[in-house]
């Protein structure tokens, strides 16, 4: 009972404290190991240092907090105004920052400096239940299951089997309906015998169009517009000095007059290998810097790519335009499990 009850306003001081979470006066014997409520401590006097604010000069801090809030209000209102006036991204950001940051700063300073500084403490009541409760729970699980399943093990097994089957089968529509099986898609491109080489606008390539050191991205005619076709068909056409061209065995007629065509899809991770250094005669993939020697069957000379870029055999047709003799002799692009490898190995001069 309070002896300090003043008539009009007894409730002046609410002392901030922390009970340990256990019910006041201790609960029914739950067997808490640490019962902090066993001893009731008196409420602290109002001049307890824990209740003082942390600031040494609280008036000054109040002023700072107040000023901070004022700036914050101004900032937030300015944000609103900036929005109404369509003032632009930078103005929105500046006003939002000033508004929110100073409001937050003020509030944080208030909490840090102007509130009872504490520190306060609470007890950790041990979370574990009593040994008796634990055993009771395990007993409930085991014994009740035993009662249910006893002599009905077959039923239990069937139930488990059923749910397990459903779990497996439920994955079918979730996964399989997502997309088609790869089939042979990864092995084929749209390059065929006689495909006309065209650039991305559909213009074919004449033998006089490029000089030594030139580079062009080409596609089979008719397939230069859709992204899915571009993704596999993209081919890089380079003109090198025919005298320095080294062709692999069996590829003597794949690169007429110094024009060589390689798949643009990097054999590392599929980025388009559009970076060509004409003096070094090196195709560099911009993603992870695999380097392919153009003179030498696009053999990788540096970097993580494991295989040369597949080469497209090309020739000049009767009117001087470039066409493909046939498609690539191997799957283009990065490796995958089903990929059989053919056409590898270093080039030798023919």
């Amino acid at each position: 009972m309070s002896e300090h009850e003043d008539a009009p306003a007894p409730g002046d001081v609410e002392v901030l404290g922390a009970a340990g979470g256990a019910p006041a006066g201790g609960g029914p014997g739950t067997g808490d190991g640490h019962d902090p409520e066993a001893v009731r401590l008196p409420a602290a006097p109002a001049d307890d240092p824990h209740l003082q604010e942390a600031a040494r000069h609280p008036r000054r801090v109040e002023g700072i907090v107040g000023l901070s809030f004022l700036i914050g209000i101004a900032g937030v209102c300015a944000f609103g105004g900036a929005y109404v006036e369509s003032a632009g991204t930078q103005v929105y950001a500046a006003t939002l920052f000033i508004g929110l940051f100073f409001l937050g700063f003020g509030l944080t300073a208030w909490g840090k400096y102007l509130m009872p500084r504490g520190p306060f403490v609470e007890e950790r009541h041990p979370m574990e239940s009593s040994a008796r409760d634990r055993q009771a729970m395990a007993a409930a699980l085991v014994e009740r299951t035993g009662i249910v399943v006893r002599r009905r093990k077959v039923l239990g097994g069937l139930l488990v089997t059923g749910l397990g089957c459903f779990g497996i089968v439920a994955a079918f529509p979730l996964l399989r309906s997502l997309g088609p099986k790869p089939g042979s898609s990864l092995f084929k491109t749209n390059w065929k015998k006689g495909s006309l080489l065209v650039d991305i606008n559909g213009k074919p390539v004449h033998r006089t169009d490029m000089q030594v050191g030139g580079l062009l991205t080409v596609f089979p005619k008719g397939k230069q517009s859709t992204t899915t076709a571009q993704a596999v068909d993209q081919t890089v056409l380079i003109r090198v000095q025919s005298t320095t061209l080294v062709t692999m065995k069996g590829r003597g007629d794949w690169a007429p007059d110094g024009y060589v065509a390689y798949s643009k899809v990097c054999t590392h991770l599929g980025c388009p290998v559009g970076l060509y250094e004409q003096e070094l005669e090196l195709l560099v993939c911009p993603c992870h810097q695999s380097m392919f020697n153009v003179r030498d069957g696009a053999f990788p000379v540096f970097g993580p790519a494991p295989r040369p870029l597949p080469q497209l055999p090309i020739y000049f047709d009767s009117t001087g335009f470039l066409r493909a003799r046939r498609g690539f002799d191997q799957p283009v692009g990065p490796g995958f499990w089903e990929r059989t490898t053919i056409g590898n190995g270093k080039a030798s001069a023919t």
């Binding site: 033998r207 490029m210 030139g214 991205t217 001087g320």
Partner: protein, 343 residues
């Protein structure tokens, strides 16, 4: 009649002049053939394939589009102008692609030599022959120590015969030449030592040794399509120079330079001549397409629209991650440091 002619006082001089003219014409045409045979390394001159002057008119109907590839036909009756055009490796329509991309070329000759060609997108001009003498002197002072006085190259510098005026103009106006040291992997761009006019003079002289296209381009940016330029840039240029034109390191110490300081002429020259390790885009890009790329570079790349604030160098997530971690997380950690205790 001959007796009446020979009795004339002017007969002998007239005969001599006629003989000289005929001889000059004959020697010029044979000399052109010799020049094309001699153009060796770099071979930026006329392609060596096919019979020279084998012009052909081809109608390729593909889905309604006609691609006509015409080349000047050099016949014994060809004019000196077209013969010179052939000699310098000029392809008409301008050594580019489909004529439907550009208006018909204007080929301007003077004294039997091509001095200007091009179309409404780009005009290529030869420096006047009055520049040649000054160019020779400049070459001797600035370049001959590495390239030799005959411009035939040495162990430390390549031959300049047959590179064409655009090439020389590019290297000199960007300051890469004269090179600081001849044995760098890649010549650095630096403040140019010769003025633009002096560069053209040197170009004129070198061209006089072995006349070759391309000439110095003058890009007419009006009417350029930035959208097409953006697409072309992303397809052909961004792989080395990055999509924002910031430049980056390439293999074995080479690098693609930043495009921030390039003039329109330099961009066009680089595209057409393929300096250093840069590929050479000739017939596969029309002059209109080159103009679009130049416009894109000079307008968008060099004046990036950084609507979101500071551009952070245009190098993308590397800089962004740095800022996020240092200023974002780091700054907020500092704030936490202020708020919390430190014990």
């Amino acid at each position: 009649m001959i007796r009446r002619l020979t009795r004339n006082r002017l007969a002998l001089p007239a005969a001599l002049i006629l003989a000289v003219a005929l001889g000059a014409i004959l020697s010029l045409s044979s000399g052109a053939k010799a020049a094309t045979r001699q153009a060796g390394t770099g071979s930026s001159t006329a392609p060596t394939t096919g019979a020279p002057g084998s012009g052909r008119h081809v109608n390729l109907t593909a889905g309604g589009t006609h691609f006509v590839n015409t080349r000047p036909r050099v016949t014994p009756h060809a004019t000196a102008c077209t013969k010179d055009a052939e000699r310098i490796g000029y392809k008409a329509p301008p050594d580019s692609g489909s004529p439907q991309d550009s208006t018909p070329a204007d080929l301007v000759c003077s004294h039997g030599r091509v001095v200007r060609y091009g179309d409404s997108a780009i005009t290529y001009t030869l420096p006047p022959s009055s520049f040649i003498a000054a160019g020779h002197r400049l070459f001797e002072e600035n370049c001959s120590s590495c390239h030799l006085p005959t411009a035939q190259g040495s162990a430390v510098a390549p031959s300049l015969r047959g590179v064409g005026p655009a090439t020389v103009d590019f290297w000199v106006t960007t300051g890469r030449m004269p090179a600081a040291t001849p044995l760098q992997v890649q010549a650095q761009q630096k403040p140019p030592r010769l003025t633009d006019r002096q560069a053209e003079e040197v170009a004129a002289w070198i061209n006089s040794l072995t006349p070759t296209a391309p000439y110095i381009p003058d890009v007419h940016l009006k009417g350029a399509s930035l959208t097409k330029g953006a697409t072309l840039f992303a397809l052909n240029c961004a792989a080395c120079h990055t999509i924002t034109g910031a430049g980056d390191a390439l293999a074995y110490g080479t690098y693609a330079p930043s495009l921030r300081l390039a003039t329109p002429t330099q961009v066009a020259e680089a595209i057409r001549t393929g300096p250093g390790n840069m590929p050479r885009f000739t017939g596969n890009l029309s002059d209109a397409q080159v103009r679009d790329i130049v416009a894109y570079v000079t307008e968008k790349i060099q004046h990036p629209q950084d609507a979101g604030g500071f551009g952070l160098g245009g190098v993308g997530p590397v800089a962004e991650g740095f800022v996020a971690l240092l200023f974002g997380v780091g700054g907020l950690m500092l704030v936490s440091f202020w708020i919390g205790d430190r014990s």
